[in-house]
């Protein structure tokens, strides 16, 4: 017997919830077919005979190619895992969206001075008369790179120190636009650090690895190109207006979905005359001609509705008469004694074979209701998702409208700009690798400020602010949680993520304390404060553009 054992908090228990894990271990199966008695009847035996004959015949006489046999299994395989895993789905880094004419020389100037140049004929969309949407994310500080979920590992044991990163995609009506291999898109990317000691890389999203990419540390401009300044703003304004109209349409559809859900009638046990366990029931004779709606049932009893309030000791009293009555459409049993009279609200419920039929009908109705509800809710979710995308696009366009559009490259230091060209969209990065620290020799305990153990982080990120580098451990990372280690120098910020997305944050500033460290104390992410805001405070970094 344990006296006063400390209780686990709800947060800790919730932190250990892992429905995906439970689901993955369970193969739900319907009752085994051999448990059906009919199976063992003559029909079942005959079927076995035919099946055995056919299967033997099939094995002996056919050479079915192996590939044909596995086609179904192939279709059931999950999709490939993507290599970008944002720490919070709710706080994705938004894209800036621009529209360019594929039949003209055009130039986009981003807010940090990066210039993207498209020559006429470079973009090859299906429809040359329609504009191409260019979506860009400038990932210029550790916060945005982190929130965007960009992997920063290089080879087996290095993490990248970034001097600037750019993600760029081109689409027309949702379809990726091809780039003419002979006329690549050119980029003069503004760096955040002196680029002379950095190499240049592109993320191979299939291989989940950074690969070296040719670049030059010099300025380049496209002669005769039109700089996207005021024109861009106007075109963005038009695009934003279209999106706003689309959002209004989505709102109308959402309203219809809500109405459809409200109109769905949920089957109730009352309507199907299904009894509740543990509620008192009475077998009562009644005049079927007075209650024709009940006349068709043979196994009918009356169940007390306990919520209606009545003297619960009434069964201990002696009553001279008990009869059924109906008031305002509701049934009641009337108990008449020598000196008193009492009414109890009841409802008719079924028993025996009639109950079995009713239960079956109820289950069927409930399944149909659940399916319909699920269908509408899926539609609603899709609409909400679409709306969120449009809204973030509108917000990004408004932000770009407010920004100064003067090209900044003219005054930039040549070492701060890296020039490259590409014919495939993707993520480009100016980086240099830094080795991961050795795994901690002693086992480190992770505890909350309250003193309770942290249930289990599934992802941990260590930022070394001095080196400006991030080390990733756990799910999606190359390094497992057991390889967790700490740099001996530099201020460290450690972010741990629980399965439910909650973050724990720890700061290690005193280098001297780090040698004898046996535990790391985490604070919980404050309620109502986004991860973005939390990072902003931790890094004192005003450049968060998400």
């Amino acid at each position: 017997m344990n006296l006063d054992r400390p209780n686990l908090s709800s947060e800790e228990i919730k932190g250990r919830q892992n429905f995906e894990d439970v689901l993955s271990k369970v193969k739900v199966s319907s009752p085994s077919f051999w448990q059906n008695p009919w199976f063992w009847g003559p029909t079942g035996l005959a079927t076995i005979g035919i099946a055995v004959f056919l299967s033997l015949n099939s094995v002996n006489s056919q050479n079915v190619p192996h590939e044909e046999k596995v086609t179904l299994a192939k279709n059931e395989l999950p999709k490939d895992t993507e290599c970008i895993h944002p720490p919070s789905e709710k706080e994705e880094v938004a894209f800036e969206n621009y529209e360019v004419d594929p039949q003209k020389n055009e130039q986009l100037v981003l807010s940090n001075g990066t210039v993207i140049s498209f020559q006429k004929g470079s973009l090859q969309p299906e429809n040359l008369n329609e504009k191409v949407q260019i979506s860009v994310r400038q990932l210029n500080d550790k916060s945005t790179v982190f929130l965007a979920g960009i992997p920063m590992d290089y080879q087996e044991n290095n993490a990248f120190i970034s001097a600037g990163m750019l993600e760029i995609r081109g689409t027309q009506n949702g379809k990726e636009v091809a780039i003419n291999a002979k006329i690549p898109v050119k980029v003069d990317m503004k760096l955040t650090k002196d680029g002379s000691s950095f190499d240049f890389w592109k993320l191979n999203e299939e291989a989940k690895a950074w690969e070296k990419y040719p670049s030059t540390a010099q300025q380049a401009t496209v002669p005769g190109a039109k700089v996207k300044t005021k024109d861009t703003v106007q075109s963005n304004t038009q695009s934003a207006d279209k999106r706003v109209a689309a959002i209004a349409k989505i709102d109308q559809k959402l309203e219809k979905c809500t109405q459809a859900i409200e109109q769905l009638v949920k089957p109730s046990v009352v309507a199907f005359k299904i009894p509740e366990a543990n509620h008192q029931k009475f077998d009562l004779e009644f005049d079927k001609s007075t209650y024709p709606e009940l006349a068709k049932f043979e196994n009918l009893v009356f169940e007390i509705i306990p919520t209606t309030g009545y003297d619960k000791n009434f069964t201990k009293k002696t009553w001279s008469e008990v009869k059924l009555d109906k008031a305002n459409g509701n049934y009641e049993m009337v108990f008449v004694g020598n000196t008193e009279k009492m009414k109890v609200a009841v409802r008719p419920v079924l028993q025996g074979s009639e109950l079995k039929v009713a239960q079956k009908n109820f289950d069927k109705a409930m399944t149909e209701f659940a399916a319909e509800l699920q269908k509408i809710e899926i539609e609603k979710q899709q609409l909400e998702k679409q709306k969120a995308t449009y809204r973030s696009e509108v917000e990004a366009e408004i932000v770009s409208r407010l920004r100064t559009t003067t090209p900044a490259l003219e005054t930039a230091n040549v070492n701060d700009v890296v020039s490259f060209s590409f014919t495939k969209w993707g993520i480009f990065n100016s980086d240099k690798p830094s080795p991961y620290p050795a795994a901690a020799e002693n086992e480190l305990a992770f505890v909350w400020k309250s003193g309770n153990d942290v249930a289990r982080f599934h992802r941990i990120f260590v930022f070394n602010l001095k080196k400006d580098v991030r080390y990733d451990y756990g799910k999606f990372a190359r390094h497992g949680l057991q390889e967790f280690g700490l740099d001996k120098k530099g201020d460290l910020v450690i972010i741990g993520l629980l399965e439910d997305g909650t973050a724990g944050i720890a700061e290690l500033k005193k280098e001297s304390d780090r040698m004898a460290l046996d535990k790391i104390v985490f604070s919980r992410q404050q309620n109502g404060v986004s991860l973005k805001e939390t990072l902003k405070l931790l890094f004192e970094d005003e450049k968060i553009t998400a």
Partner: protein, 189 residues
């Protein structure tokens, strides 16, 4: 004595559960809301009866795996879905004890013991607390379970009956008898 009211459901909440259950019967992935709702109560039920926290999490996972495997067999009987899960939990717990993966323990807070003393009309002293611990150890497993559910987990007799497969009245009577036995132990000492 205050009783934990979390278990008692309104008609609307029971029907909400029914929708989830029907959805889960068609698609196991839709079992998630039921898992979310009952994971903590089931874990606490299991952890209350064993020392090993990790093992308690494992047993809890087993309970939900078993529930998911057998969800197609579930039939609504007018009580919360939780009572079915508690029954599975009870069976999984005893399986763990039989396999000697875990040892049966009773976890009790001093405040619950003082509440019991109050119910037994005994003085709330430290000496009586020690005596009550010894008295509890003298109970048989079935009686201990009833006391554990009623006084340490604050369950209603209705809920106790549903978990232990007894009528509400029977749970009340048996619990009363267990309490009487404890009182006798007190008076004999």
């Amino acid at each position: 004595m205050t009783v934990n009211t979390l278990y008692h459901h309104t008609h609307e909440r029971l029907e909400e559960e029914l929708v989830w259950i029907q959805q889960a019967k068609g698609n196991p992935a839709l079992f998630a809301p039921l898992y979310k709702k009952y994971h903590e109560p089931i874990f606490r039920y299991v952890h209350q009866r064993m020392d090993d926290t990790e093992m308690a999490f494992d047993v809890t996972s087993q309970v939900f795996m078993k529930a998911l495997k057998n969800i197609h067999k579930y039939e609504y009987r007018g009580v919360p879905f939780g009572s079915w899960l508690y029954r599975i939990a009870k069976s999984e717990l005893y399986q763990a004890f039989r396999d000697k993966q875990a040892q049966r323990t009773v976890n009790v807070e001093s405040v619950s013991l003082f509440e019991m003393m109050d119910e037994m009309d005994e003085d709330q002293s430290e000496l009586n607390k020690q005596l009550l611990v010894k008295a509890l150890q003298s109970l048989k497993e079935e009686q201990l379970q009833l006391i554990e559910m009623r006084f340490f987990e604050k369950r209603s007799f209705k809920e106790m009956g549903e978990i232990l497969d007894l009528t509400e009245n029977n749970a009340k009577v048996k619990c009363f008898r267990a309490l009487e036995k404890l009182k006798k132990y007190f008076h004999d000492k």
